[in-house]
């Protein structure tokens, strides 16, 4: 039955369907079909050599003080090096700002009814704060702890001291009377940092798909039926030239 089906000429072929959807789905789509493989036309190269950097300016959620904290933090967590520009240039601060200002930050889809009680870690978040409010309360508390410890705010620390402070946060060594800063950093801040690096660039981070290029994630589309066999155990061409949602829009 299965053999017969696969030989039926008019049976649906998802790959063809895929191409049809991609090509017919939007106007001015940068696709060409070459040798039966979907390839995107190359994006216009930047005028000057050098990394593509964030071009979005102006925060929608952060205050200047919060922006200073976050920019300092993402530049420590993502220093400019052979893999990427610094965190701000890679769009990480913009990503976090936009997420906090949007549905995620406002706690959409999150159960927010009382009564409120302290739970075990395994219950997950139990604060009557939205993620945005929690994020900001954490910055305030972390910065206060930093001033207490170093006599200056986090954005005034040297990169080495700043890095040590972030490690202390992650290890639960920075204390606040009410807010658990370890939980704040590990369960709220750190996931946002990872998403900022690896989410599709349409969200503002991962500018120029720099982190996808770094690891060799090809992005989309993916029509791998032939590749599965041809490149099994081998490096996949195209994995270093990833495509984002914006490349098809």
């Amino acid at each position: 039955m299965n053999e017969k089906n696969s030989e039926t000429p008019d049976a649906p072929d998802a790959r063809r369907g895929f191409l049809k959807q991609v090509i017919g789905g939007a106007s001015a789509l940068p696709f060409a079909v070459v040798g039966g493989t979907a390839v995107a036309a190359p994006a216009p190269a930047p005028a000057a050599a050098g990394p593509v950097v964030n071009q979005v300016f102006g925060y929608t959620s952060f205050s200047p003080a919060e922006a200073a904290f976050v920019e300092t933090m993402v530049n420590i967590m993502c220093p400019a090096d052979e893999f990427s520009p610094n965190g701000v240039d890679a769009g990480l601060a913009i990503y976090i700002d936009r997420q906090l200002a949007g549905e995620y930050g406002k706690g959409v889809k999150r159960y927010m009814r009382g009564p409120w009680m302290e739970g075990k870690p395994q219950h997950g978040p139990q604060l009557p704060l939205t993620p945005e409010q929690h994020f900001k309360a954490g910055i305030e508390a972390a910065n206060a702890a930093c001033v207490h410890q170093h006599g200056k705010g986090f954005d005034q620390l040297s990169p080495v001291d700043g890095n040590a402070f972030l490690n202390d946060l992650a290890n639960g060594k920075v204390k606040n009377d009410s807010l658990s800063l370890g939980t704040w950093f590990n369960e709220l801040v750190y996931p946002l940092f990872q998403q900022a690096c690896f989410a599709d660039p349409i969200y503002g981070g991962n500018v120029g798909k720099v982190f996808w290029k770094m690891i060799g994630y090809p992005g989309l589309p993916a029509t791998n039926t032939i590749n599965m066999v041809q490149y099994r155990g081998k490096q996949v061409p195209g994995s270093l030239d990833p495509k984002s949602i914006s490349d098809f829009s």
Binding site: M1, N2, N5, S6, T8, A11, D13, A14, R15, G17, F18, Q21, V22, G25, I76, M77, C78, P79, D81, F83, S84, V108, K109, R110, Y111, M112, R113, P115, M117, G119, Q122, H123, G124, P125, L166, E187, F198, A199, D200, I202, W212, I215, G216, Y217, L220, P221, A222, N224, T225, N227, M228, V229, Y231, R232, K234, Q235, V236, S239, I245, D247
Partner: protein, 587 residues
């Protein structure tokens, strides 16, 4: 609020997912009138089902775009009955679906027939280990139906969903390359197995070195173009790595919204009413019948009473139980006495694994499907002798390469810094050169694992949340440790440059980590009304025109995904309801 009473329908089904679609297929084929009430909408024209946004990991995966809205309805949890349960405000552990097709539109696609003995597990254990071999706090029980009775429905489901796999046991004859522990089947899978990933090749080699018999997981991700017996079609899978938590835009993952609902909508007598949130069942306790279903139309906010000759519950595990508890149909389970049935034998799935890193092998995680997995069954369930091991049950061991989505699908060696240049270097070095091996384990019932209604927390409709009274018990923890050691042994001979330490599942149960959506029990089936909610024909003992189907009727959870038996039971209950409609009686 006064509800408007609608015209009576023959069969009303609560929940528009996989079970509803399958039961409705059987019923409408016989010309029986069916109305399905589904709280969500139709994803067909949404961004989730079309390129390019279908490939948005942040939206559909991280932010759970296709998953139940926790702000409307979530579950509370306590690990012990002495604790106060708290609501899980953002659930990661399991992901119920919403909308036509239910969770079966964002599923992986693994489709098993369980072990031949699974539905007689108590009898099997008593015969093998004696009555004392089953701990007193483990209310294992037979399901009241046999694999042999279910086999025709497995067969039908596999044809309908065009499974890709390799048979291990055809009519008792073991087949090379298949699962030697597979329950006997009448023929090969409808389609050849999916292509193996490099991770699968590594796993196969390592497992065979140790004398095991690895095989490809039976998959609903279509290895070729396929037309099912109903004339419904699947495309050929493109190994894009966006199956679980995503809708397949290529219609290559067998799902209700591809294979069932479009066909059903064209059938006479079938109707699916979307954005209809069911509030409760109308129960005539004296007459031992349900008379209808109350729901709110989310487009108008208006409440309706929908009278029905027969009601079938086909919602998520938790909701099936909740509807019974709220309507006071059947006796709620009491963990102190062990009496009562509704909410009993609530089980989950014991999963964990290790990561392996290979400097010189390209694993290319992004070329995968939700079911590109090699598996071995030697240590699953009762496939091995449990004398002296200190637990019952077991786990399948697998190399699961499902996707390379970069937010959630990166593996880093232990000790890697969490940020900075060295973190980036490790990501660059290992992303395409790493894989996981894992276990998917059984979870047998425990006297104190059950669900009931939370006394404090309510949903958007003012109704109580379902409360999970659940933790990993010694039996599951011991099993997990045993199987984790077996995985570590396979890891050792895999040729990996780095193997992360084995991490067996330990208590307490953690809602912050995805484990699996395989929640079972609460409305279990059986032959004895004193220990089961529904009969072997899934008919409620206390309301003969009420049928329940889903993993909520499983008396225990096995080391397999639940879809196979769940789907077979749904097809069978469709036939049973048809027979009941013709001549109402206790089947």
């Amino acid at each position: 609020m006064t509800a408007t009473t609608l015209n009576k329908r023959t069969v009303v089904i609560v929940g528009g997912g996989l079970t509803a679609g399958l039961a409705a297929r059987q019923l409408t084929a016989k010309g029986i009138d069916v109305l399905v009430l589904e709280r969500g909408g139709d994803h067909t024209d949404g961004a989730e089902a079309h390129l390019p946004n279908q490939r948005d990991e942040l939206r559909w995966d991280t932010r759970q775009g296709l998953v139940q809205d926790w702000s409307v309805q979530t579950y509370t949890l306590r690990h012990k009955t002495s604790e106060t349960a708290l609501p899980v405000r953002w659930m990661e552990a399991f992901l119920p679906g919403e909308g036509m097709g239910g969770a079966a539109n964002h599923w992986n696609g693994h489709t098993w027939r369980w072990a031949e003995y699974d539905m007689q597990l108590r009898t099997r254990h008593e015969e093998r280990y004696g009555k004392k071999g089953i701990p007193a706090d483990m209310p294992l029980q037979d399901w009241g139906v046999t694999y042999k009775e279910m086999e025709p429905y497995h067969h039908l489901f596999e044809k309908l969903f065009g499974l890709s796999g390799k048979a291990g046991n055809i009519n008792g004859q073991l087949q090379l390359g298949g699962n030697p522990f597979e329950a006997p089947r009448r023929d090969e899978y409808p389609q050849k197995p999916l292509e193996m990933t490099e991770a699968g090749i590594i796993f196969k080699g390592a497992a065979e070195k140790l004398g095991y018999k690895p095989f490809p997981t039976p998959a609903a991700n279509s290895s070729g173009p396929y037309t099912n017996p109903d004339g419904q079609q699947l495309g050929k899978c493109q190994y894009c790595g966006h199956c679980e938590r995503f809708i397949c835009e290529a219609k290559a993952k067998a799902s209700p919204e591809v294979l069932l609902y479009p066909m059903l909508k064209a059938r006479k007598g079938f109707e699916i009413r979307l954005r209809a949130h069911v509030l409760g069942l109308e129960y005539d306790a004296k007459g031992k019948r349900v008379t209808g279903v109350r729901f709110v139309d989310l487009l108008t906010g208006r409440e309706y009473l929908q009278p029905a000759d027969v009601v079938m519950l086909g919602a998520f595990t938790m909701s099936n139980t909740k509807l019974l508890l709220m309507a006071k149909i059947g006796k709620p389970y009491d963990p102190k006495t062990g009496h009562g049935v509704v909410g009993k034998n609530f089980c989950y799935q014991v999963n964990s694994g290790i990561n392996l890193f290979f400097k010189n092998r390209w694993l290319n995680p992004f070329m995968a499907t939700g079911s590109t997995q090699m598996y071995l069954d030697e240590f699953n369930n009762d496939n091995f002798d449990h004398n002296g091991v200190g637990f019952l049950g077991g786990a399948g061991i697998n190399a699961s390469m499902f996707h390379g989505r970069p937010i959630g699908g990166r593996r880093l060696p232990p000790g890697t810094p969490r940020w900075g240049t060295e973190w980036k270097r490790a990501n660059a070095q290992w992303y395409a050169h790493s894989m996981s091996m894992g276990m998917q384990g059984s979870c047998y019932p425990h006297r104190e694992n059950y669900i009931d209604l939370d006394p404090t927390y309510t949903d958007n409709y003012g109704q109580p949340l379902v409360r999970m009274n659940f933790d990993w018990r010694d039996n599951e923890v011991n099993m997990s440790r045993f199987v984790a050691n077996k995985i570590a042994e396979i890891g050792k001979v895999s040729g990996a440059d780095i193997v992360s330490p084995a991490g067996p599942r330990t208590a307490p149960f953690d809602t912050r980590q995805y484990q699996s959506t395989h929640i079972t029990g609460g409305t279990i089936m059986g032959k004895d009304p004193a220990t089961s909610v529904v009969s072997p024909h899934l008919q409620h003992w206390d309301a003969q025109n009420l049928f329940i189907v889903g993993a909520s009727v499983f008396a225990h959870n096995s080391g397999y995904n639940p879809t196979g038996p769940l789907a077979a039971l749904a097809l069978r209950v469709g036939d049973d309801i048809a027979s009941y409609v013709e001549r109402p009686r206790m089947l």
